[in-house]
Amino acid sequence: MKRPTTIPIGPQHPAFLEPLNIGLELEEERVVGATLNLGYNHRGMEYALALDYKKTQYLVERVCGICSNHHSAAYCQTMEDIYDIEVPVRAKVIRTIMMECQRITSHLLALGHTAETMGYENLFMQCFRERELAMRLVNEISGNRVHYSINVIGGIKRDMDAGMERHTANVMRELRPLLEDLRDVFARDNTLVKRMKDVGVLTNEQARDWCTVGPVARASGLPQDIREDGFAAYDMIDLKPVVRDEGDCYARTMVRMDECLHSIDLIEECLKLLDEGPVIMTVKGHPTGEGLSRVEAPRGELLYHVKAIGGLQLDRIKIRTPAFLNVPSVQAMLPGSRLADVPLITVSVDPCICCTDR
């Protein structure tokens, strides 16, 4: 019997944007086992975030640069739960618009990264060109490109005027045909389809076993989307979760692509819901109690669990990011695949190591 060869992939590897190590066991070109090593990006965020709950609403965005707005939205929702306050409707709608804009930017980054990993540089550039429209839009709405800092406990701190609402609608109109073109390429390009179909399959049962969330779970036939919970303004708009059942790299890519287009629908619906009204309500006193809240970040369910004890310091703040569950599931996807497909399979889960390690 042949002894498998063990080789390390990462933590520094051209295919990975962040440090991640996979110990691969190979029999010739075929992967027979994989072990994931994390922690290269651990920054002790949960300790730092508990020090001052007022500063946390800004610091929490630094957990991750790709889904920063979802982190602050989830944190603010949790604190609002503890304060037992209802955020004004207009603030909820604007939060939803910002979350969907960020879903578009995040998914286009993941799609571009997937294209680059397959050696399709031109498609990578096309993804980032279209993404720039959404990046500029969030910059115009919030004043920031990455860490929007628009969410505060009780609402949002920057309103949209009528001109900005019209501009947002125009950007969505401009973006839709561009993303439809992009979808055609991902769905029909022969080389891309052959590289992704039946590669890195995560079965429905494995997806449940590894507790996967978001596009990774939905691409394996699990119809779970936390937006159906109706947080922010999601109970006021017509959400249609994108679910596929192939479980391979192609399905994960197409779920993200279709979610980008659906995000445009949701943003357009939200714009119609923007009535005059306040965008923030004041909260008094330090929080006391326990709260749990979750949002559907681009990579899936993002959960915040906070215990507050009536001072600036929090007793505990727990962040369960989607990548923390999705990234380890590559250990189930890799066995049986070819060595050449390892970077693609890993990238197909949209591995955010900042979120995973915190």
């Binding site: 002790g44 326990e290 599931s329």
Partner: protein, 134 residues
């Protein structure tokens, strides 16, 4: 151990009262039965959160999701006790438990530290309350 069920979207309240007595370590043994029951019902494991509640005790909260319903099961356990792992029932639990090993100094059967921190070199159990914080 105590548990609660909630179904209030966007605002989920966790109301499980924790036991804090000498039988608390014993009560944690039911977690494997709970996990098997949950897995068979197709319930998703969401998180395992540890919280230092002083005097060497950790409150361990297992959060599950059954079709959008949040279920929480809570235990107060002695940090020095080696606890049953549910990582053979839910593969996704491995890192949830190992995270508690690294950040709170807990022990789970068959699992090693070193997920987020480097054993022997990193700070020990950074989320445990230091004397000045108690």
């Amino acid at each position: 151990m105590a548990s609660s069920e909630h179904y209030r979207y966007g605002k989920i309240r966790l109301g499980g009262e924790s036991l804090n007595n000498s039988s608390a370590n014993e009560s944690h043994k039911v977690i494997r039965d709970i996990a098997v029951r949950m897995k068979n019902r197709g319930v998703r494991l969401v998180s395992i959160t540890g919280r230092d509640c002083d005097e060497g005790n950790i409150e361990l909260i297992y959060v599950f999701d059954e079709d959008g319903v949040i279920l929480d099961h809570r235990f107060v356990v002695d940090v020095e006790r080696e606890l049953d792992s549910i990582s053979d029932i839910y593969s996704g639990a491995i890192n949830m438990e190992r995270e508690n090993i690294d950040l709170l100094g807990m022990k789970f059967k068959g699992l090693t530290p070193g997920l987020l921190l480097e054993p022997e070199k990193s700070v020990i159990a950074p989320l445990r309350k230091r004397q000045e914080e108690v």
